[in-house]
C-alpha cells in the first residue's frame, strides 16, 4: 500500500479515530458501502481529504486508484475543500424554464468563479444541482441547507452581501 506520510503532514486535520468510526463501526468495513463511507467523510470534512482516502484504501484493501476513480466520477464528491457557505442553484428543467440558468450566470459573474468552484477566500461555493424535486416552487435555490422557493436574483445578491459582510 502506498505511503501517504507526505500528504498527512500537509493536512493534519484528518482524525483517524473518526475515520475508523465511519468505516468500521458505521458501515462494518464493507467494501460495498464505500460510496456511503465517502459521503459520510465528505459531510465531516466538507470534502474528501487525500489522507482519508488513502486510509480508506488501506482499511478496505481497495487500490487507491479505484477510490480516486469513484471520487472523480460522482458529482457530489469534491477533492478540494468547499467554502464555508454553500449555494446550490437547481437547474432542473422546471427551474431552467423559470430562468435558473441566468441566476447561475449572475452569481458566477458576481463572485468571479465558475459553477462548482469556491471563492479564493474560501467563503462561498457555488454549485448547480440537477433537480431537487421541488419543481412546483421553481426556481429553487438552497443556501446553507435551507430551501428558498421561487428565488430571485435579489435574494442571491443578499446571500452574497451577507457572506461578504462577515
Amino acid at each position: 500500500m502506498p505511503e501517504s506520510e507526505a500528504t498527512c503532514c500537509q493536512e493534519p486535520e484528518v482524525d483517524f479515530v473518526v475515520l475508523d468510526r465511519i468505516i468500521r463501526d458505521e458501515f462494518g468495513g464493507r467494501r460495498e458501502a464505500m460510496i456511503m463511507m465517502m459521503q459520510t467523510i465528505q459531510r465531516r470534512y466538507r470534502y474528501l481529504p487525500e489522507p482519508a482516502l488513502y486510509y480508506l484504501s488501506q482499511v478496505l484493501g481497495v487500490p487507491i486508484t479505484k477510490i480516486y476513480e469513484v471520487a472523480t466520477f460522482y458529482a457530489s464528491f469534491s477533492l478540494v475543500p468547499k467554502g464555508k457557505h454553500l449555494l446550490h442553484v437547481c437547474t432542473g428543467t422546471a427551474c431552467h424554464l423559470k430562468g435558473s440558468g441566468g441566476m447561475v450566470r449572475h452569481v458566477a459573474a458576481k463572485l468571479g468563479i465558475a459553477p462548482g468552484a469556491t471563492t479564493p477566500d474560501m467563503k462561498f461555493t457555488l454549485e448547480t444541482v440537477n433537480c431537487l424535486g421541488a419543481c412546483a416552487v421553481s426556481p429553487v435555490v438552497v443556501f446553507d441547507d435551507k430551501y428558498y422557493p421561487q428565488a430571485t436574483v435579489g435574494q442571491l445578491n443578499e446571500f452574497i452581501e451577507k457572506v461578504n459582510a462577515e
Partner: protein, 267 residues
Amino acid sequence: MKIIMDGKEVAAERGQTIVEVARRNGVYIPTLCHVPALEPAAMCRVCTVELVEGRRTRLVTSCNYPLRGDAEIRTDTPMLRQNRKVLIELLASRCPDAEALKELAERYGADLNRFPAEDRQCIMCGLCARVCERVGGNVLALCGRGVEIRVDTSFGRLSPTCIGCASCVQICPVNAIRIEDMDGERRVIVRGKEASRVQLRKCTSCGIHFGPVIDLGPVLDRAGEGGVPAFNASVCPACSRRSLARRLAERHFEQHAVESPDADEEG
C-alpha cells in the same frame, strides 16, 4: 449452431464472440478498444454490427456479443459504414495524428478534419487502464466522467504502485504512452505527463540498468504458482545470456576434450 456472416455460413463455436468468429473466418471487423487478452469493454463501439433476428435487426458490439445459437450477422452494411465514418471523424478530433484512425478513415471515407481538432492524444479506448489493472500495479484509471473523462493516476500524482511493466506502452493504439529509462530510473509518460517513476535494477555483472526494481509481492500473487523468476535476476538479460553461453561452451569443451579435435568442426 449455424452462423451466417455477410451471407456466408462460417465456422463457429458456441460462446465465441462475433469478433472471434470473424477473425477466425477472415472477415474484417474494425476494433479500437479490443485485444484478445483482455475482457472486452465495448467502449469504442466501432465494431458494432447488425444482428438479424427474424424480421428485426439489432445493433450489437461484436467484441463482446457471445453467439449462443443460430444467427445472421452483417458486418459491413451502408448503415454501419456511415456510422463508423462519423465515429472516426469524431474520434479524430481528439487525436488528429493517430495512424490507427488514418487507416480506418481511408477505409470508410472519413474526413479527419471534419471537426475542429482538440489534441488530447488519446481516443479513450481504456486499454491502458484495463491492462494496468490486470497486469500492472493499478496505476492508470479512467478518472472523471462525461467529456472530462481522462486517463490519469490517483490525484494526478506520480504513482507509487507502478511496476514499470510497460504494458500500457505496448497496448496504446495511438502511442500516447512511452517510457524513458534514464539515470537508473524508468519514467512512464502518459500524454506528455509523467505518471510514475520506477527505480531500475543495476546489473551486478556489467553495471547497466535493466528491469525495474519492484515490490514482487503483488506480482507474484497474480502470477500464482511458479512465479516470475526473471524479476529476481541480479544480472541483465545480456549478461545472463553471455554467462549461459559461457557455461555451455565450457561444458561442451569438457565433453569434447576427450574426443578428436575434428568433431568440433562437424558440429
